[in-house]
């Protein structure tokens, strides 16, 4: 059933006019319904479904060959359209956000607004731990990795971080993944566990 429907969509979208035009219009209407719901007020309503549906349609038509039939055609088409829509909304929403921290080469800053602590000894222990962590970060990570990790900690979207480091979304994910592995190994070797940090900051 799904296979037949999927093949029918593909045949119509690749076929001659007027069938192709009718299929595109049908798909456009479906996407508009889905995108209206999925974009909703996300990112302050930065992008409306009507603004993005045409770009989404073009992306779908350009990538028909990548549809592998593991799900229904409309599910796949909505996945493509949602990425187009959310990506555009994020870029618009974060366009004016200050990203000064991501431009600094020593991006990771932990000294900010640390809560007061009861004893001098405990404060010294905590400061020593933070210094040790910063040292590990500086020693183990490349500048791009530090910037990417900073962006993740600041909850910036990967696309925005990618723009700042002159890369793409997937490369940023790999950058962060490699950084996490390096830090995990270095912290393990130094005997620093999550529990040590929890105790120091308790």
């Amino acid at each position: 059933m799904d296979d037949e429907q999927n093949q029918r969509w593909l045949d119509r979208l690749r076929g001659p006019e007027p069938e192709r035009g009718e299929a595109i219009e049908e798909l456009r209407k479906q996407l508009l319904v889905g995108l209206s719901r999925s974009l909703g007020s996300r990112y302050g309503g930065a992008v409306q479904a009507e603004d993005i549906v045409q770009e989404a349609l073009l992306r779908i038509l350009d990538s028909l060959n990548s549809f592998q039939g593991r799900c229904r055609f409309l599910t796949w088409a909505m996945t493509v359209a949602t990425r187009v829509g959310i990506g555009a909304a994020r870029r618009k929403y974060f366009r004016d956000v200050s990203l000064d921290s991501l431009r600094q080469s020593d991006a990771l800053q932990f000294e900010l607004a640390v809560a007061p602590i009861a004893s001098v000894e405990a404060a010294q222990d905590r400061d020593a731990l933070v210094c040790q962590l910063k040292e590990i970060v500086d020693r183990q990570l490349t500048e791009k990795q530090r910037i990417a990790i900073q962006g993740v900690l600041d909850e910036l979207p990967v696309e925005i971080i990618a723009d700042r480091v002159g890369s793409n979304r997937n490369a940023v994910y790999k950058l962060v993944h490699d950084a996490r592995l390096k830090l995990r190994d270095a912290l393990e070797q130094s005997g620093i566990t999550a529990e040590v940090f929890r105790s120091a900051f308790a």
């Binding site: 909505m78 932990f110 900010l112 592995l181």
Partner: protein, 83 residues
Amino acid sequence: MWNAQEKINKLMGLVTSVEMDELDCDECYGRVAEYAENLLLSRGYTEAMFAIQRHLEQCPCCRDEFDALMEGLRALPTLDEPS
């Protein structure tokens, strides 16, 4: 302004949860339609589905897109299971 403790906790969370064989964003994107449909139609999980679930737990951007996708798919009447 960031609270240092919150930031460090988050960093430690990223570090302690890392796995060697995590999916990246492109790999997740390539399979997420199937994953969403399986959830919507209450179909079974495969090993690949668990890998997608793990990526979505780790990657806020993919998670955000996935949540939006699910909302959009629920608005489409044509995704109901055929009788």
